[in-house]
Point group: C2
């Protein structure tokens, strides 16, 4: 199984060469990856993408174990990245709806490959993990 081919790809260099080069700034690609791979971002995007436009508490309930604070923080980040649209209705009590932008939706579609992979292999991986005797 030889896999050295892709090392010459542009996108590949964007992660490794670039990362070592710019010590001051941060590699843009790593930056994005870091952002979307935090604890709640993927789940938020996926929930919004799957169930469509939603209000804050509805989303919170969907995800289940996210705290109000962290969901707020996550959504604000997603909004400033242009992945989520936040719409506030001037009512009392307030109503706020969140939905994916086209950009957010496109990201979700890429995420699906990972989710599919995890769905397919999770049982096997976790079984093996315990067999080896790891703590976590």
């Amino acid at each position: 199984m030889e896999t050295k081919a892709i090392a010459t790809d542009k996108k590949f260099q964007n992660i490794f060469e670039h990362a070592n080069a710019t010590k001051n700034g941060v590699c843009p690609v790593r930056d994005i990856i870091a952002r979307i791979s935090d604890k709640w971002t993927l789940l938020s995007i996926y929930a919004l993408g799957g169930y469509g436009k939603m209000r804050f508490n509805e989303l919170k309930h969907r995800i289940g174990d996210v705290s109000q604070r962290m969901l707020t923080v996550t959504l604000r980040n997603l909004e400033s990245d242009g992945l989520v649209l936040r719409k506030v209705y001037p009512e009392v009590p307030p109503r706020v709806e969140y939905e994916l932008t086209d950009l957010g939706l496109s990201l979700m579609h890429q995420m699906e490959y990972i989710i599919d992979w995890a769905n397919t292999n999770s049982q096997e991986i976790i079984k093996r993990r315990k067999k080896v005797g790891n703590k976590k």
Copy 2:
């Protein structure tokens, strides 16, 4: 842009319904996602997949800013998950080589979609992020 369709998918329910159901255990899919979305896992897999079999310090150098400790921890986890193969040669000084297993390679291929997306959109996102005036 209607996107409610996928909410009925099996894989979708594995993330949301399932997560709320099993309060004691953890949703297997979320578990896997959490594991591979930590700070170094993706980079390690990607480096190994791109450059092929590598020794410890070679890998460390490729990634660039990972500490010895975290690379060790990351590789151990990957090994116990069956994504990376660790081969120790009984020599002095010791030589240890790491390479992706077929499973690890298959995961890397799914990751490429995300990487591609990040490569394509990172500049735009980061530009927008600053414009909004967010701190980070």
